[in-house]
Amino acid sequence: MTNTNNIVIIGGGHNGLVCAAYLAKAGKNVTVLEASEEVGGPAATREFAPGYKASCAHLLNLLDDGIREELELSSNGLSIAKENLTTIALAKDGNHITITPDSVEGSGLTAEDKAAYAEYRRFMTKFAGIIGAMHNLVPPRITTDKENLVPMAKLAWKVRMLGRDDMRELLRIGGINIYDVLKENFDNPLLKGALSLDAVLGTFSGPRSNNSVFTALHRMSGNNSGAAGAASIPAGGMGGVMQAIAGAASRAGAEIRISSPVKRILMDGMAVSGVELENGEQISASTVISNADVRTTILDLLGARHVEADFARRVSNIRSKGNAAKLHLALDGLPSFAGLNESQLGERLVIAPSVEYVEHAFNHCKYGEFSAQPVAEITLPSIHDRSLAPDGKHVLSAIVQYAPRELGTGWTEGKAAFSNAIMDVLETYAPDVRERTVATELLTPQDMEKEFGMTGGHWHHAELSLDQFLMLRPVPRSAQYKSPVDGLYLCGAGCHPGGGIMGSAGKNAANVILADQ
């Protein structure tokens, strides 16, 4: 043993860093061990082509305001290049729809649709607020003691306080699919398509999958210093946010070691005693916190043999089929999207022309195929942040679905074909995108799994769904950030309240650990 740090955090993703910052602020001796050369995992900003940079996570929409303030992220360098992005639902003919939290505009929209949108926003925001209120809550256990009954009663009370009509509506739509809800409210196909995309981004589901209303609500549940679900582009890519959190952690006294992949968690009897790095170095610690996904943590780093079989089985059954690919294009100039001016190009562009289109795109992945006509969430962050591309050049960053982790043909062969399919679709909206492209990076869920160590290449480490939420996340008996092994805690997106650049899992875990010590 070469070191006697009290607390070791495996993985310097945003939750690991947030957890480290809170623990260090409380005076704990914390070391973060990050496998790669940069903290942040899929949120790190990387150079994907000479002079061109992008981060896999590209929009900030859930970062917790409390964490932002308590960790003084602004004074640690957090800067937002563009706040409150407008969503533009792309149409091939250039008759786009622009969607903001307050309104929806577009040539094909009826007055009814506009009014329905205001109402949709009203109740969805209200419902999302219930999820938002759970973000900084350690999920209560289903027991009968006061400690757990009170927070549970508070949650129930929040639902009841929605009022009779809204509570009834939440109970009605909370577990169902977004397709039905959009159909009830809107006529315009483009509007429905764009709104449905919010419900399925990053998940293994289509608009007609049950639970997709819940994922839409989860996406809107952050405060992020703006309207519910408002997205912003951080300066320096998402890596900028990571540097700010890492800065806060370091300033509070946490040690962050990069290029230090952990091979396994060490045990002494029934409790953890530290970790061993890939290079053989052993670091002793009485508390080990894992930011890695729960499956990796328990089955690979710890070993299933150190937990009871029922628990190991639950962990191995966590659903985490990644479905989102990430496309980075290095462009020698701004592409021309039909009907969009340059300032509009800097907004959030979505390709989801109808709910049916999105559902069809999803159909493929159920059978191990990529979408013949994918859906996409596109940003050109270099419009707002010149540090990401050389002068006069640009970066296009797009989340593209659906790309199942297990492709029938295998991704070695399939990748070029999928890349082609994406470019074909992009070209129908931006005819010159192919000519402008000087370099392409396409990361499939398999690539992300390999590069960032996330099982299934899933953003949220575990599918976000009602059966894997709150006290069911990641699995029963570890929903309070504690594993069954003494001294081993979990703080990643696989824990409540899930992924997205939020940080709440890391903060909640820190609170649990501090209370335990």
Partner: protein, 401 residues
């Protein structure tokens, strides 16, 4: 019968004849057959009581082929079994056999069985219920191989005071040196015969395991060797009497196997079955550990006790009352008139903390005399020791009857 080929018509042969079937048939005067797991089994060959006396006073032979058998091998066999079982399996050395239970996460008993440490790192697990699904679930993270080889091994329990002498006469040289819970191998007609000094009768006795192709010759030579020492085929009814006297519990009778429970509260923990001695908290993690630790702290819900009941009427399916006959203390799970103990005895599950040794209860017994029903509240007391535990059970070498 060899490993089953699950073809589309496997259901036509849901219950198989045992490899001893042809010989069982010769002895089975009552011509009655019952099902035990995958096999036809004999409830009684001619008279359950007389077969019981063969087992106690001479030698009873019981076909244990239907017992579910598993082979556990591979580098992680021991750590795998230690996580699966409640007891410390590392204490069962090669050539030894141990009784154990295994639990689910709630600390409730899934089944009980015997662990045969056949050779260094090679184990056989015998159980009452099919366990392959649970055993395979437990494989995650272990380099271990598990096969259910029930159909590949024929087994006979040879139980009673003359059993050792009979096996010696059959040619098993040195069998008398085998200590209780030991196992050893013999060459037998060109194949390997595994013999363990184990059984379900609480008496001197052995269990024989052999290739099913040699089942009939084993039976024949055994009965030839035992003719003058009172060897008899014994059915499951007689065995049941023997095991109650010995205080052995039976899955599905004295406890509800946790995997079969629709009502989880009806299941039992090892402590609630009087098997706390099988729980080893200091060996590391095992299934049910956390729940059992909590139970140890908070107390168990039930006690499984042995009752000595006044009178001679078997207290079958009886309620047990706190003295005074008003408050129910629990229920009888197994009961019999014990010819060896000359007493009405029972195993009963009582609500904790009731059931301390010496504590007195009343047992409600319904009985019939020439079709006339009567009811008696028979005084009973909890006893600590099993009803039948003769020194010959442990004596090595056993007396040469």
């Amino acid at each position: 019968m060899r490993t089953v080929n699950f073809s589309s018509d496997h259901y036509k042969d849901a219950v198989f004849p045992s490899p001893f079937h042809s010989r069982q048939k010769q002895h089975n005067q009552l011509k009655e057959w019952t099902r035990w797991a995958d096999y036809l089994s004999v409830p009684a060959y001619w008279c359950a009581d007389m077969e019981y006396f063969s087992g106690r006073n001479a030698c009873g032979v019981f076909d244990i082929t239907p017992m579910v058998k598993h082979l556990v091998t591979g580098p992680d066999a021991l750590p795998y079994l230690n996580r699966l079982m409640t007891r410390d399996v590392s204490k069962i050395k090669p050539g030894r056999v141990g009784y154990s239970v295994w639990c689910n996460e709630a600390g409730r008993v899934i089944d009980d069985g015997t662990i045969f440490h056949l050779r260094e790192g090679v184990y056989r697990i015998c159980s009452q219920e099919h366990q392959i699904d649970w055993f395979m679930t437990n494989m995650l993270g272990f380099d271990v191989e598990i096969t259910e080889d029930t159909h590949d091994v024929a087994g006979l329990a040879v139980q009673g005071p003359t059993s050792c002498a009979i096996l010696k006469d059959m040619g098993l040289e040195g069998i008398e040196n085998l200590t209780p819970f030991g196992l050893t191998y013999f060459d037998f007609e060109g194949t390997e015969l595994m013999v363990s000094r184990t059984g379900f009768t609480g008496d001197l006795g052995y269990e024989l395991f052999i290739d099913p192709d040699y089942a009939e010759v084993l039976w024949d030579r055994l009965f030839a060797a035992g003719e003058l020492r009172g060897i008899k085929a014994m059915g499951s009814e007689a065995l049941d009497l023997l095991r109650i006297e010995a205080g052995f519990i039976l899955a599905g009778v004295d406890f509800l196997p946790a995997m079969e429970a629709v009502r989880p509260t009806h299941t039992r923990s090892p402590f609630e079955l009087g098997l706390g001695w099988l729980v080893s908290f200091d060996k590391g993690v095992f299934n049910g550990r956390q729940a059992l630790l909590e139970e140890k702290e908070k107390g168990s819900r039930y006690n499984l006790v042995k009752l000595d009941i006044d009178g001679n009427k078997p207290a079958k399916d009886s309620f047990v009352y706190v003295k005074g006959g008003k408050k129910i203390a629990g229920t009888v799970t197994s009961a019999m008139w014990s010819p060896s103990a000359k007493a009405s005895i029972a195993l009963a599950s009582l609500e904790a903390p009731l059931g301390q040794p010496g504590e007195e209860f009343e047992v409600e017994i319904y009985y019939q005399r020439e079709l006339k029903w009567s009811r008696v509240m028979a005084p009973a007391r909890v006893v600590k020791d099993v009803f039948w535990n003769p020194p010959r059970r442990r004596q090595t070498p056993p007396a040469d009857f």
